[in-house]
Every structure is written in structure tokens, then in C-alpha cells.
Amino acid sequence: MTPQSQFMVVAPVANGREAGLRGLLETMNSAPGAADPENAVLPFGRFDRLHFARLVVLDDATVADLETGGSPRPGHPVYLAFIGDCDGPLQEFMADLSRRAGDGLRKLFAHCEGFDAGSEVLSWMLAHNEPAAANYVNWIGRTVLQVRQESALQRVLSARVPRNALTSGGDVQRIRRDLIALVDTELRAGRLALTAPEPTPPGWWIANLLHAIAVPLAGLVALPLVIVLMPLLIFQLRKREINDPEICPRPRPDAMQELRQLEDRDVTNQFTALGPVKPGLFRRWLVTVLLVLIDYACRHVFTRGHLARVQTIHFARWVFLDNKSRVMFASNYDGGHEAYMDDFINKVAWGLNLVFSNGIGYPRTDWLVARGARREQCFKYYQRRHQLPTQVWYKAYPGLTLIDIEHNQRIREGLQREEMSDAEALAWLKLL
């Protein structure tokens, strides 16, 4: 199994360079927000270990919301973030990227502070890589290569499977054998490929195991203290939940327009949002602890196709910025934005509330999980208002949703099974 890695290279945009940067980003697209895989700056399509990537200018007007609570308004710089998800170790991917697209990367980062002609791109990117506080991968170990190969396999098989009614179990087995033979021919002719998975790197495996043990252990150590402090913590939480201001005005039409024109150009969409954490140590610690728990759940529990009830998120991450005063959330999801919100509100409102209720202005929650996102219209305004336009977005397998991908994976697994009962063979044929 090849585990996935994430990167988020983030740096302040240099004074006076923002307009130029935006212009450059625009040249990378073939449609608004949709990267041309062969664009001259960063030809994403040539990196076959890259699942998703985006370039986004992080400029958050909602920091002004802090003033409603009487806090001073911090002067955050505008950042450029280069975010992506890839197969295998990060260092390797970044090295490959800077080797084959160094010029384009240099052109991009030349708009950032602290990057000059003499900077070495790889080390600069690694130095500016901001690790996620929590990270979600829909299916840990599934590579771009696998997704593409299995999609090609599905196309060949679905086009060739006989669709007339079958009469007997013998028919089923015969058709399966014929299809297996067909795939063998295609494989030998080089028209299909099914690369065997690579062994899991032992280092990753050990680190993952240690993480799986260490977090609960730390929790166990902290438990007595948490129990003792619980009444105080509950008191502090409830006081804030009752008094924290809700800031959910309807987003400006022009801002909505800017976001919408980037959406629904493929069956998958991007989401980038940014907002300040509520001031004070309580919220800051709370969100830190909760993100540790969410990261743990993503790494060890929700690793196979779903994040609780949501089966439409490919990759997602929560990242602290500016000394934990802000949180950025970025995701790649199947379906339209309204359907994504439908999933959030109707399926996992409790999960969203856990983290985002620590953000300034979030719709009022009760006990950290209730209400919040269930305040449908407030929530929809809130998230749209905090969403940022993603200037450049790349997906390695357009046209495929997670359901398609998982389906294709089962087709391949079934193909490679030695023996199948008649019932199993029929179930497999029905996948086609």
C-alpha cells in the first residue's frame, strides 16, 4: 500500500505583487478555476502521483468580525497557498515537482515574500510547508495510478459484458471467464495495465501504529485532570455558547458570483474556507484538542471510504494559520455545493459544530454538537461568507466520483479473485 501525503506551501504575497500573481494564476486555467492539466506554469497532469492540487490566495475579510467582540483587528498578510495531495512520501514528490516544474514554481513564488532569484525551490517549499492539524483521506493507500487503471478496466468490461438476461450459474461463470480472458489480452497488448500495489513502507507503518497508541495514551494520562476540571470546562463552554455573537449576514452577491462561477465544471468541486478562531485561550485549546481527535479518527478510524455518513469527500484538511489565530479548511467533494451543504447539515452537523463552533460568528451551538449547522440558513450564509475563491484547482481523474472509484476497485478485486461461487460471480457481473 502506498500511503498518501499532503502539502500546503504557504507564504505571504509580497507588497504590490498580488495583482500580478492573480493574473499569472488565471493563465493556468482552461475554464474559471479549472486548471489546464498541461498549463505552462505547473503542468499538474504530468505528475501522475498527484490526486488534487490548488493554488489559492488567502485573503480573509472576515477578520473584521473580531471587532464585534471588541477584540483588535489583526493585520494578517495575504498569503499564497499551494495545496495538494499526492502518493508516497512528500519529499520525493516535492523533489520531482521542483525538478520538472522548477521554472514555473519559481515564477509563482517570486510573488511571495522571502523568495528571490537565488532561492532553491525545493528547500524553500519544504520550509514553507504548513502541516495540517487534521487531515482526511477518503481511502488511505489508493493511488492515482490505481484509480486511472481501474477506471480504464471498468470501461473495457462494461462495454463488453453481455446485457441479455442470463439463464444459469454456468452462464455466469462462463461470462466471467470470457471477461477475464479479454482483460488478459488487453493487458498483454498493453492497452490496459493493472500495476500490483507496492509494499507498505515499514517506516510509515510503524509511525502509524505508534500514533494509534500514543494519542489514546496521552488521553488516558490527561483523563484525571479533565475529569476534575470538567465542571469548570462545562461552565466555561456554556457561558460562551450563550454569549458568543452570531455573525451570519447574507453574503454579498458579487462574492457569491465569484464562488459559483468556479463550481460544477466537473462532478467534483473544491471548497476553501478561512476564518478567525474566537479569541481567548479556552477556544484555542478546545479547537486544538478537537482537531487532534479528528485527525486521529481520520487516520485510524475513517480510512475506508467514508467520514462518518459522508461518502463524498476525497481529501480534506484543517490547518492552523498565524499562530493558531485562524483555521483554514480545504476539501474536494463530489456533487454540487448545495448537496455538500445538505450532507453537512443533515448528516454530520454535529461533527462540523465540534470544530467550527470555535470560529468567530458561527451559528449558536448547544453542548458543542447541537444546533449550529442545523440552523440551516445561518450556516449556509456563514460558510459561504468564509469561503474563498480557489483560483486554480486540479483533479487527476475528471468525471469520476468516489462511488465510481470504489466501484471500479471492487471490479478489479473481483477480477483478480481465483474462485467465485455463482452468486459471487453474478454480483461481480452486476458491478459492470
Binding site: V161, P162, R163, N164, A165, L166, C248, R250, P253, M256, Q257, R260, Q261, E263, D264, R265, D266, V267, F302, H306, L307, A308, R309, V310, Q311, D334, G335, G336, E338, A339, D342, N346, K347, R371, R374, R375, E376, Q377, C378, P398, G399, L400, T401, I403, D404, H407, L426, L429, K430, L432
Partner: protein, 504 residues
């Protein structure tokens, strides 16, 4: 905004609600829809101030003639309604159906559906006011003349859309208009946010009427005015905000689309695919719809009682869910009626007890998860009030080589309180969604626009799962339905109508 409901529930003011929210006017078999543009705002207001609008109060005998009236946002502007009042309406209504290229794309109005080809509803042909006229047989002619005479001073007529009576059958030949949500007129359903673990056909008032709690137990945004702007006390006060006058109260959004149906194209395609076998042709057509020609659901009835269904007139045709057919063997997953109303609850079905509930909540019940791609239908219901137009086409005519020469179709009309969450969601995520409920690359077999996906994959397929073989598939489906017009309207409460007519 969105405050919790007041302690006391006030009864619904039927006399302030336009009748179409409560009645389909089935006995008013004659109808026509006037699309008007305002030429003299003063005269238009004068007519609207006393227009004979029919309310939702049950009349005995029923009225011989009915008039309903609705506005586009352009219409409100042309009437001289203050900009800040218009800003209080939903953004979908303000922007309209055709003006924003991104909305057009999301609704699938591209290719032959492009608003550039519309007969009305785009560019200079966006109506200001929609007047719906209904009459019992024989009475429409004089009713229309009378209203047109009254409207003459204030309006010019963009179009008069004539309606045909097809005896409850839509142009393709299927019994239509069977499934409707049941509105909780008595306000019995507690207005609080609570998961519904069984499919219910009963909808909170606020899903269709502004000013009442919706399925989330909250009030949908609408224009709330400072009371000094309603010094005459024409409007009621907002339930959730008693210091404001509620312009939305008892009103709704009306979505209208003119859908041209290619009856010959539909039946001839199936005829060819079926090699001329009439039984197979009909079976496929019925699979596409999800009902037989006579309206019986392919999935069959249910023994369970569905809330909000008992009193429905055709409950035997509407009393079902897809719970017993998760794979779409009897009714294909992509069938039209399954897409437009998947009839499921907030949580996929499972055993009793907290463990089962928790497993389903967290996604650890694989069976439940596989049925969870589409959920919570109750937030996406539409109250349909469409009417057919054009000539009714017989099967012989449909299969004949000679073109019919006239156009038939549907004036799709639906009412909803939140256009984005109801009409637009159903249209974009369910109807034209090519990945609906885990399907691969196919949109609604009737309504799909057959546009290829971003990667060039065709979407002109309809698959019918079977128990004992791979899906049966129809490929190369032509486009059967084309959009020829459309607009979003605000259908005001009657007092709000008078207020709008008086305000300047």
C-alpha cells in the same frame, strides 16, 4: 432571522393565501397563463390593488373562475417597489432563472435548453407579472377577456400561454400529478429540529409558505419591514420577529418552466430499440418513469402507513417508499419519479436500539451506508401545479412517420419557500445529476439534457438493474424534453399583494 417559534401557534390565515397553494383547481379544466410586462406602473398598481385574487378559503360552491398573481424581481422593480425591500427576498429570486450563466449551467439549461433559445423568460422577454387564470369548462373565454381588459392600461402582454386539458395524462401518455406533499395546514407537526426516522409525506407549512417554520423548525428569510413602512397596518407581524411587518407571510415562490416534450421522439426511440415490440416499448417507458401508464408505482405499495398520505385522493398510488427495493430491481434507481422524490428518511433504515442508531450515524453499517447516498427527502419537496399544453398525441400519431406539426409539453409549475434548497436542488442534484444515487453517467431519462461530462463521457444512458444479470441498458437516448421558457416568481399573500400595489 431564524429565531425559534413563538409559544402560541396562530391558525393559518387561509383568506390571505392564494388558492393555488391549497388547491390544484382540477375541476377548472380551462386555464391560461398571462405573462405581462408593466407599461404604466401607476395603472398596474391600481389594478393589482383590487385584482380579484382567489384565496385558499374553501368556497361552496367552488368559484367558477380563479385568478392568481405572481411577480418576478424585475416586475417588483418595474412597479417601483423599494430596492431594500426587494433585497430581502432570496437571491435566487432576485437574480432570476436565466440571468446568471452559472445558475443556467447548474440547472442544465445548456445546449438546446439555453435561455438564448427560450420563447420567454430571458433577456427582454422576462415577464414582470404572471397571471394564472382558471375556469370551469366554458367560462375561460369571457374570464380572460375581462381580465385582459382590466390589465390593458397597466400592462402589455408578452404571451398568453394556453393550457390543454389532457384529463390528467401528460403528453407522453402517463397519468400525472399523483405525488404531492401534504401540507400541515393545522400546524400539528411540532416546529422543532428533530430527525425523522421514517419517510413522511407531511410537510411543515414553512416549506411552502413564507412566514411559518420549515422542516428545520426555522423561518426562511424573507423581507421583514420596519413597522413604520407599514403604517396602515396592512401586513401581519412576523411570528419570529414581532417588531417587523412580514411581507413574505402567506406568500411563496413559484417556479415556472415551459418544457416542450418530443412525444414522437420519445416513443419512436423506444419503438426502434424494442424492435417494434409494443410490450417491451411500454415496459421501458414505464421503467423510465417509475410508474405504469396508469400511474401505478412499479415498486408496488407498502404495508406501512406513511404520514400525510392517508387523506390523499390517490393514496393507493402514492403510498410507497423504495425501502424494499434498494437496488432498483422493480423501479430503477434513475427512474424519473425516484429521482424527483426518493422517499427516504433522515437516516437509512436499520434495527432498533441505540447501537444500531450509532452505527448508522457514524457510517459503520455498510448496508445502511450503501443506501445513504441520497437522504432527507423532506427538505427537498415541491408542491406541483403544472398544466399541459398543445395537442394530445395518440400512440398511432406518435409512431407515425408524419410529423405532428404542433408542439406539446408541460408548463411545469412548483411552489416552494426556498428555491435553492427545493427546486434548484432537485433539478441540479437529482434530475440532471449524472451520479445520482451512485449511478455512473446518466441523468433523468425524461428530462436529461444528454450533455457529455467534463471528461467527455456520454450521459445518454438509462440503466435498469436486474436480479440475475448485469443492468439492462438503453443507450443513445436523445433529448426528449427541451426547456422553452422559465422564470422565478414571488406569489404574495393577498395582503402583501395589496401592500405592494400601494407602496412606492
Amino acid at each position: 432571522m431564524n429565531a425559534q417559534r413563538p409559544a402560541a401557534v396562530t391558525p393559518v390565515e387561509l383568506e390571505d393565501i392564494q388558492g393555488i397553494l391549497r388547491f390544484g383547481y382540477k375541476h377548472h379544466k380551462e386555464a391560461c397563463f398571462l405573462l405581462l410586462r408593466i407599461k404604466d406602473a401607476g395603472a398596474a398598481r391600481a389594478w393589482l390593488a383590487q385584482a380579484p385574487v382567489t384565496s385558499a378559503v374553501t368556497a361552496d360552491p367552488p368559484p367558477q373562475t380563479v385568478l392568481q398573481v405572481a411577480f418576478t424581481s424585475e416586475g417588483l422593480r418595474a412597479m417601483g417597489v423599494a430596492a431594500d425591500i426587494i433585497d430581502g427576498f432570496s437571491s435566487e429570486f432576485i437574480e432570476g432563472m436565466s440571468r446568471d450563466a452559472d445558475r443556467v449551467r447548474r440547472l442544465g439549461d445548456v445546449g438546446p435548453n439555453d435561455p438564448g433559445h427560450w420563447q420567454w423568460g430571458a433577456g427582454q422577454r422576462v415577464p414582470h407579472v404572471l397571471v394564472l387564470l382558471y375556469a370551469v369548462p366554458g367560462r375561460l373565454g369571457e374570464w380572460r377577456q375581462a381580465i385582459e381588459a382590466q390589465c390593458d392600461a397597466g400592462f402589455e402582454q408578452l404571451a398568453c400561454l394556453p393550457v390543454s386539458d389532457m384529463q390528467g395524462v401528460e403528453p407522453f401518455g402517463f397519468v400525472d400529478g399523483i405525488s404531492q406533499p401534504e401540507i400541515d395546514w393545522a400546524r400539528q407537526r411540532p416546529a422543532r429540529d428533530q430527525d425523522q426516522l421514517a419517510y413522511t409525506n407531511l410537510s411543515c407549512l414553512g416549506e411552502f409558505l413564507l412566514g411559518y417554520p420549515n422542516e428545520y423548525g426555522l423561518y426562511t428569510d424573507r423581507p421583514l419591514l420596519a413597522t413604520h413602512r407599514d403604517s396602515g397596518g396592512m401586513l401581519s407581524r412576523a411570528e419570529d420577529n414581532p417588531d417587523k411587518a412580514d411581507l413574505g407571510r402567506n406568500g411563496s415562490y413559484l417556479v415556472m418552466r415551459q418544457l416542450r416534450q418530443d412525444v414522437q421522439g420519445f416513443w419512436q426511440f423506444l419503438h426502434q430499440q424494442a424492435g417494434g415490440d409494443p410490450a417491451l416499448r411500454q415496459r421501458w417507458a414505464e421503467a423510465m418513469v417509475g410508474r405504469t401508464l396508469r400511474g401505478e408505482p412499479l415498486v408496488g405499495g407498502t404495508s406501512k402507513v406513511i404520514a400525510g398520505d392517508a387523506a390523499a385522493p390517490a393514496s393507493e398510488l402514492n403510498d410507497f417508499t423504495y425501502g424494499s427495493d434498494p437496488q432498483g430491481i422493480r423501479c430503477p434507481l434513475g427512474a424519473h419519479i425516484r429521482r424527483t422524490n426518493p422517499r427516504n428518511a433522515d437516516l437509512p433504515p436499520g434495527g432498533p436500539g441505540i447501537v444500531s442508531w450509532l452505527k448508522r450515524m457514524l457510517g459503520f453499517d455498510a448496508e445502511a451506508l450503501s443506501q445513504d447516498l441520497v437522504a432527507s427527502t423532506r427538505f427537498h419537496r415541491l408542491l406541483r401545479r403544472g398544466r399541459d399544453y398543445g395537442a394530445q398525441v395518440s400512440m398511432a400519431q406518435a409512431l407515425a412517420d408524419t410529423p405532428i406539426g404542433s408542439e406539446s409539453g408541460l408548463y411545469f409549475i412548483c411552489l416552494n419557500a426556498n428555491i435553492a434548497r427545493q427546486f434548484e436542488f432537485v433539478q441540479s442534484a437529482w434530475v440532471i445529476g449524472t451520479k445520482f444515487d451512485g449511478l455512473r453517467n446518466e441523468s433523468d431519462p425524461l428530462l436529461g439534457n444528454r450533455q457529455a461530462g467534463a471528461d467527455g463521457t456520454p450521459t445518454d444512458v438509462f440503466s435498469m438493474p436486474r436480479t440475475d444479470a448485469p443492468d439492462e441498458r438503453l443507450c443513445g437516448l436523445p433529448q426528449f424534453v427541451t426547456v422553452h421558457g422559465g422564470a422565478y416568481f414571488f406569489l404574495p399573500g393577498i395582503r402583501a399583494l395589496r401592500y405592494l400595489a400601494a407602496s412606492r
